[in-house]
């Protein structure tokens, strides 16, 4: 039973001051085992804050990140699932499912987590699942001014994943749930 927090596109301090207080009150240390961040934090303070929630932090580079050392993409294995991480500004058209599916096949992962559009989406295609946790601070994006803060918490338990989506809509935290599973660990043939 592994809890993985996926969030990104915070754009602190340029476009937002901080995470919404209601989100911060929920994100207490000790509950979450991994954090995967799609990028655009942008500053070190946010990096440190995320580290206090969970020491196992994975970040990829967004175009506004001040730390240039983050990688462009990252893959990690949690339980039976392979996760891929990429900010998404590299994938054109932005947010397009076909292009993201291509990236997913390239990285060879079951779950691809990307951001950049500041809009929560969860798609399924032949190669796996693509999740976009949106913007955790509700920062505006190049295509959208009106953004609801959102992030995603995945509960990976064996071959099953439950995705909890936390959105701040009209000042209230709304929680959604998505379940999916894998049939078996398929060892990919070389």
């Amino acid at each position: 039973m592994v809890l993985v927090l996926a969030l990104g596109d915070l754009h602190v301090p340029h476009r937002a001051a901080d995470l919404p207080p209601k989100f911060k009150s929920m994100l207490v240390p000790g509950k979450i085992q991994h954090i995967i961040c799609t990028g655009n934090l942008c500053i070190k303070e946010i990096h440190d804050y995320l580290k206090t929630i969970c020491p196992d932090l994975h970040i990829v580079r967004g175009e506004f990140d001040e730390d240039a050392r983050y990688p462009e993409t990252k893959t990690l294995t949690i339980g039976q699932f392979k996760l891929g991480l990429c900010h998404g500004h590299q994938v054109i058209p932005w947010g397009d499912l076909d292009s993201l599916a291509m990236l997913q096949r390239q990285l060879d992962v079951d779950i691809l987590v990307t951001g950049h559009t500041h809009q929560f989406t969860a798609y399924k295609h032949e190669g796996g699942v693509v999740i976009n946790p949106g913007s955790a601070t509700g920062a505006y994006s190049s295509i959208n001014q009106d953004v609801n803060p959102s992030f995603v918490l995945m509960d990976i338990d064996g071959l099953r994943v439950v995705v909890y989506v936390y959105e701040l809509i009209d000042g209230e935290v709304k929680v959604d749930k998505i379940d999916f599973k894998k049939t078996s660990t398929s060892n990919s043939a070389p």
Binding site: K31, L97, K124, I178
Partner: protein
């Protein structure tokens, strides 16, 4: 002020344990358990006390044929015997006791009084007997044999129910809910492209919920307890392979013990888990798990849980900090022990508490709360526990009696020692002949009734 004279019988050399550096004849005639004798041969000190058979040997009218009189000064007590340095695995006396016990156990309705008196002199170590007797003494099994199977079934299913209810992870609970509602889980990598549909669950449970009724919230709150239990179980008896070997058997034993302690902690929010409970569980679980009867051994976890609860129920108040100073708390038990020592041996009491200022709390706390599991070797403890559990008035009375006997047995050294040496002695109690210890404790107790 007139000093109370030390009673005559106390002054006999029978009671004292001179510390001989050289190993003397292996004295534990009644400790015929081979692991115990192997351990005792490794011990540095050996007792030279002659073994006197316990007073009420109704079962053994036959003296051991291999008995030889001991070359000891104080050998005027009739009926004494000793064994040669390599004791036979079981003497005639053991056989008869075992036969008597087995006879008692195979009756349709077991006479609990008889069983208790048999058990108070230590049970034989042959497989299976101790497990059944402990279950009877702790009230887990009723005296009527015919009711056993139904009782066991009911209790074991109850434990399973507890486990399902309390030990399931929140993830598992969520999935059961989903399945019960008949939702179709999405399959990864199958079929068409689509947006994954979401269901709104703001008012239901989710991992970051901080609501009191939230399964996740209670799970995170229990994590600290779980970690503590985990640490303690891993440290239990590192010298005994049953608990701490690298094998999967030992690991499963540790898992079972963790489950038992966690279920107990969750069911008893008042005392939760306190360090030391693992030591009390260890002998119980060990005995049940090593039962040669397949059925008992496989259900050892459930049986041990109920017996553990039963045993602890007499001592619950010792684990609650608020009750420390109350009439039922640990302090009062320690005071009682102190009074008991004073009653039997004023000189020793005076020397300990007043002259050398050895506060009984320093040593008796561990003796009492852990039921002497830390003072003797594991297998010796099993024998002591036989006596403790067989007490019809509850284990506490016997426990205090045995603690008093422990003090009396080393009185020579205590009286000769100062604070430091007494503390050292009492906190690392020297290895003793357990049957002798129990005999002394019994004798003290019977003296009290005079």
């Amino acid at each position: 002020m007139v000093r109370k004279k030390v009673p005559e019988w106390l002054n006999s050399t029978m009671w004292s344990t001179p510390p001989p550096p050289s190993p003397s004849l292996n004295d534990d005639g009644l400790l015929r358990n081979s692991p115990s004798t192997k351990m005792s041969s490794m011990k540095k000190e050996e007792d030279t006390i002659s073994v006197t058979p316990p007073p009420s040997t109704t079962a053994s009218s036959v003296q051991s044929p291999s008995a030889k009189p001991r070359n000891n000064g104080s050998s005027s007590i009739s009926g004494e015997y000793g064994n040669s340095s390599v004791p036979p695995p079981s003497s005639a006396e053991d056989f008869s006791r075992q036969a008597h016990l087995s006879a008692e156990l195979s009756k349709k309705v077991i006479n609990m009084k008889e069983l208790r008196s048999l058990a108070s002199q230590s049970l034989p170590d042959s497989p299976g007997i101790r497990s059944t007797v402990w279950k009877l003494l702790l009230g887990y099994l009723p005296p009527e044999r015919s009711l056993w199977s139904s009782e066991l079934k009911q209790k074991r299913s109850q434990y399973k129910h507890y486990k399902d209810e309390l030990l399931t992870s929140p993830s598992e609970i969520t999935w059961r809910l989903v399945r019960s509602k008949g939702f179709d889980n999405y399959e990864l990598k199958s079929g068409s492209r689509c947006m994954l549909s979401r269901s709104r669950i703001t008012d239901e449970d989710h991992p970051l919920s901080q609501g009191k009724a939230s399964v996740w919230n209670t799970y995170f709150q229990d994590i600290e307890t779980i970690e503590q239990i985990d640490k303690d179980v891993k440290r239990t008896h590192p010298d005994i392979p049953f608990f701490s070997a690298e094998s999967s058997f030992a690991r499963s034993n540790q898992e079972s013990m963790k489950n038992i302690l966690l279920v107990f902690a969750k069911l008893n929010q008042g005392i939760r888990y306190v360090q030391g409970m693992n030591e009390i569980l260890a002998p119980i679980f060990y005995v049940f798990r090593n039962d040669p009867d397949e059925d008992s051994s496989s259900h050892a976890e459930a049986d041990a849980f109920f017996c553990f609860v039963e045993l602890l129920s007499g001592f619950r108040d010792f684990y609650c900090q608020q009750l420390d100073n109350s009439v039922v708390g640990i302090r009062s038990a320690i005071t009682r022990l102190s009074q008991l020592v004073r009653k039997h041996d004023e000189e020793l009491w005076r020397h300990l508490e007043i002259t050398t200022k050895v506060n009984p709390q320093f040593y008796a706390f561990r003796w009492i709360t852990l039921l002497l599991t830390q003072e003797f070797s594991f297998f010796d403890c099993l024998h002591i526990w036989d006596a403790l559990l067989s007490d019809p008035e509850g284990p506490l009375e016997s426990l205090l009696g045995i603690c008093c006997a422990m003090l009396v047995l080393v009185r020579r050294r205590l009286i000769a020692g100062d604070f430091t040496s007494n503390m050292k002695l009492l906190q690392h109690y020297p290895t003793t002949n357990i049957s002798h210890l129990l005999y002394v404790a019994n004798k003290l107790r019977s003296k009290m009734l005079i």
